[in-house]
């Protein structure tokens, strides 16, 4: 087990390194704009401009500049996302501070959204899989179609317009300064964003469960369970869903990482000050340290998710445990 984890962590570090190098190079290759010019808004031979260039280390060789960022990727306190390198060109605020400020909102959005998605899509998908070609199945099909086709941006705007603007029963977009993420949740500010998340993410769960459940119901081992006289409900829960779990968990793990990394579109529509928006706004503004910092955080989130997923598989599917040399 230890060996397994170690291998995964090493691999994850490699992924992190590759991602950071790629991000860094992309920033330099694509027309990004001169950060010193952007910050000082002065012509290039002015003193302010020169000083800004020095302060930001823009004239150092690329390798040196990268090394500075690389240092901030080491996950040790004091080194990780150190403030001297990882601060926004736009606002001068340390990336670390901003991430800590914004993380609760993104987590509230992400976790709530994923939980609600599962609460809606799992029963729907399972029910549809158990009753092929029934009304439930058609409903599931319609949901999948809607979920794939409806752009979250549009839906979010529509929900806001109808439920907040016209009917006045939902709170408006944005989160007041005085509300922490928890208070905002209690105030119901995340309900419309969560619903939008369900529509944005839900298709795959419904479809996956629908087909897996339907397939598993026809499998030999379910037939055995019926022959054993196991009650239907227990068959569905202990045999069928259990068998469909691993594929759902795979998708789920990466959805969680993605949503926690920031459902940018939803955060934008509902003006939630989350991590996703922070990252995208930084890309638009060519704010390299923020881009690097958020990319590092996202990459870590996804790598960690991958490791957690692998470990989860060990418990979910015993056939993996003793596979040929995989562990």
């Amino acid at each position: 087990m230890l060996w397994f984890l170690l291998r995964r962590v090493v691999f994850g570090a490699l992924v992190l390194f590759a991602v950071s190098v790629l991000t860094f190079l992309m920033y330099f290759k694509l027309p990004a704009g001169d950060p010193a010019r952007m910050i000082t808004r002065k012509p290039t031979e002015s003193r302010e401009y020169q000083l800004a260039r020095e302060r930001l280390g823009l004239d150092d060789p690329i390798l040196v500049q990268y090394a500075r960022f690389a240092r901030g990727m080491i996950p040790l306190p004091g080194l990780f996302l150190d403030e001297d390198v990882y601060f926004s060109y736009q606002s001068n605020i340390a990336v670390k501070d901003e991430l800590l400020l914004r993380a609760p909102y993104t987590i509230a959005l992400g976790v709530g959204g994923v939980v609600l998605t599962l609460l809606i899509t799992v029963p729907l998908g399972v029910a549809a899989g158990l009753r092929p070609r029934s009304r439930t199945d058609s409903t599931a099909g319609a949901f999948v179609l809607a979920s794939i086709s409806i752009p979250p941006f549009w839906l979010g705007g529509l929900l806001l317009f109808v439920f907040w603007f016209k009917l006045g029963i939902a709170p408006s977009s944005g989160i007041p300064a005085s509300e922490s993420a928890w208070e905002a949740v209690l105030a119901g500010r995340f309900i419309l964003p969560w619903i939008t998340t369900v529509v944005a993410l839900g298709a795959i769960y419904v479809q996956l469960l629908r087909s897996e459940v339907s397939e598993v119901m026809g499998s030999d081992y379910v037939r055995t369970a019926r022959a054993k006289g196991v009650p239907r409900r227990r068959i569905v829960v202990r045999h069928v869903v259990r068998g469909s779990l691993s594929s759902v968990v795979t998708v789920l793990a990466y959805d969680v990482a993605t949503v926690v990394a920031g459902a940018v579109v939803i955060e934008t529509v509902f003006n939630i000050p989350g991590i996703g928006r922070y990252a995208v706004e930084a890309v638009t503004a060519s704010d390299l340290p923020v881009v690097m910092g958020t990319t590092v955080v996202f990459a870590v989130a996804i790598v960690v998710t991958g490791i957690v997923l692998d470990v989860a598989y060990l418990y979910l599917d015993p056939r993996v445990r003793y596979g040929e040399g995989s562990i």
Partner: protein
């Protein structure tokens, strides 16, 4: 009090009858809106863009947060009031300033009762101003207007690290500040009205060169919520009232003494100000409709909302609109054919349909037709009736344009249409953004009538091309430039003086004042172009007053008649306010709505 007269004469342009909330608004004055001031309430504002540089007043001057600094948080030595005969000064923290005859020495006596708010909570002293100016000059601060302070004697040496203090700054007593300049600078005094000159407590300067904005100490009627909890001597956590990217909350500043503040002392009506950050203008517009937001600070309201409000009689009163000292224009490079012929340029000015441009930007609430190069506001409205190329409905006058063109050498047959080979394939650069792209096309279409075939090229990075004169770009359209509301110096120099030609210096695209050898070096056939350098320098050196104003007015007329530009429109600030807002007065001192003077209905 002077401020009160101001308030009375510059009539409130927004008045709303007390409406649904209180119910009996009609009993007192049927049809006459009430001007009763209403203290109390929370003013809710929306900002589209968050502060840059963590809202440090010396590092940025964006509309948000500067409009909040001016009214509510950061007092300065003086404030400036534009006027046609030259700006006048109102003492804010200082009593009326004493200026020497040669304009090189200034003495400010600080008023009694001006204090820093929490957590500093002590009187503001002259030493504080010295520390603030030192900070502005210090390279680590990257102040946007450090140049203003460099005219102070000893400032250059200080900035270069050669002197520990600035010799031209003295504080003979705690409430007296003396400034000596090393050279005459007529605009030095009005520049002190900028919030970058607002005093910063030295106690919080240490370690906050980059992020002082999160520890902003107020001298005004309000302060950032939570700033009182900042532990000055120990571990300093930023004020909780500013959450980057999310919101800013202002509450009353207990250390503010009304009697010491002639400008705001009668007001400070709202109990608190809550700013939401990051929403879109559409989002804010909906919130204003529902009364959940009172006004947006930056950005332009969506065209649909403007249309709806301006065409509905009941809603019209909730639209605030004022001119700004910013003009949008097209340029014609005087050295590039066919624009090296003044007749051609004048013909162009006659033919362009400016009313179409106004339509394209969303209507008269977003801009007024410009008739000359310097913005109206910056010359105190002196040339309000001056329309050298005025046409009926501003739609352009093809007849007069063709008359003008017929006098040009490029129109060989005198039919009013340019027919020389130089008249075809004339490149015009423009912005691919809307409505810049549409405006470029509209102008190009207009110019066809006088025989000019324009090759419109919409590029994201057009200024890279424009800044290099050897590219010989003939026309650029949808450019904008602004200046201080009290003086056009900031527009006169950078866009018309030869010092500002070329990629290193920028912005004089028309190439006025270029020398023959320069022109030759860039490959132009023309060997001479007009110059207004001497005129600009002459006006710039005059002290503020009637003479200087007249000088600028004359120069404005001269450049306009040279027709090196097509002045298109002057930008306006237009905002929609919610029905909770009883009054939202405009302040000529802040050149924006005075938030501290906004009165809200009692139960909105």
């Amino acid at each position: 009090m002077r401020a009160k007269r101001l308030f009375a004469t510059l009539t409130v342009s927004v008045l709303v009858t007390l409406g649904a909330c209180s119910g009996d608004g009609g009993t007192e004055d049927e049809g006459t809106p009430t001007t009763e001031a209403q203290p109390g309430g929370t003013l809710r504002l929306g900002a589209v863009k968050d502060c840059r540089a963590a809202c440090d007043p010396q590092r940025q001057q964006d509309q948000f947060p500067t409009t909040l600094f001016d009214c509510c948080l950061l007092r300065t030595l003086v404030k400036v009031e534009p006027a046609p005969e030259g700006p006048t000064f109102i003492g804010d923290i200082s009593e009326d300033p004493v200026v020497s005859d040669d304009g090189l020495e200034f003495e400010f006596t600080l008023r009694e009762g001006v204090r820093f708010g929490p957590p500093i909570d002590r009187p503001v002293t002259a030493e504080d101003f010295i520390a603030t100016f030192e900070r502005a000059l210090s390279p680590a601060t990257e102040a946007f207007d450090a140049a203003n302070y460099r005219v102070i004697e000893g400032a250059e040496e200080f900035a270069a690290g050669e002197a520990p203090t600035i010799s031209g700054l003295e504080a003979p007593s705690p409430n007296v500040l003396r400034i000596r300049l090393s050279e005459a600078a007529p605009l030095f005094l009005p520049n002190l009205a900028s919030v970058s000159a607002a005093p910063i407590p030295p106690e919080l300067m240490q370690g906050h060169a980059k992020d002082y904005g999160r520890f902003l100490v107020s001298t005004g009627p309000y302060m950032v919520e939570g700033i009182d909890a900042v532990d000055v001597s120990g571990q300093q956590e930023p004020a909780s009232g500013y959450r980057p990217g999310q919101a800013l909350v202002l509450v009353r500043n207990p250390a503010w003494d009304r009697a010491s503040d002639p400008i705001r002392g009668d007001y400070a009506y709202p109990d608190s100000v809550e700013v939401t950050i990051g929403g879109s203008v559409e989002d804010y517009s909906l919130k204003i409709d529902r009364g959940e937001l009172d006004m947006q600070i930056d950005g332009t309201p969506p065209a649909s909302a403007l249309r709806r409000y301006s065409t509905d009689e009941a809603l019209q009163a909730r639209v605030v609109t004022e001119e700004t000292a910013a003009v949008v224009y097209s340029t014609m490079t005087v050295a590039a054919p066919p624009f090296d012929d003044e007749h051609v340029r004048r013909a162009v000015n006659w033919i362009v349909d400016k009313s179409a441009v106004i339509r394209l930007i969303g209507g008269p609430l977003n801009g007024t037709v410009a008739h000359h190069v310097f913005p109206n506001v910056s010359i105190g409205g002196a040339l309000a009736d001056y329309r050298p190329f005025g046409t009926a409905n501003d739609a352009g006058d093809p007849e007069r344009a063709m008359e003008e063109m017929a006098q040009s050498a490029y129109d060989s047959d005198g039919d009013g249409r340019c027919d020389a080979p130089e008249c075809t394939g004339v490149i015009m650069l423009g912005s691919p953004e809307s409505p810049g792209a549409e405006i470029a096309q509209s102008i190009a279409d207009d110019l066809e009538a006088i025989g000019l075939e324009i090759d419109v090229q919409l590029l994201e990075n057009r200024y890279e091309l424009l800044d290099e004169p050897s590219n010989r770009v003939p026309m650029n359209t949808w450019a904008a430039w602004g200046t201080a509301p009290y003086d056009p110096s900031e527009i006169a120099g950078p866009v018309f003086h030869s010092e500002f030609i070329g990629p290193k210096a920028c912005c004089n695209e028309v190439l006025l004042g270029a020398t023959p050898s320069q022109l030759d070096g860039w490959g132009f056939a023309s060997d001479s172009v007009p110059s207004v350098d001497a005129d600009i320098e002459a006006c710039d050196q005059m002290p503020l007053g009637q003479q200087r104003s007249d000088c600028w007015v004359a120069l404005n007329q001269r450049i306009t008649e040279m027709a090196v530009w097509i002045p298109l429109y002057e930008e306006k600030i237009t905002r929609i306010v919610s029905e909770n807002v009883v009054a939202a007065p405009w302040s000529p001192l802040y050149q924006f709505i005075a938030f501290e003077q906004v009165s809200l209905s009692p139960d909105g």
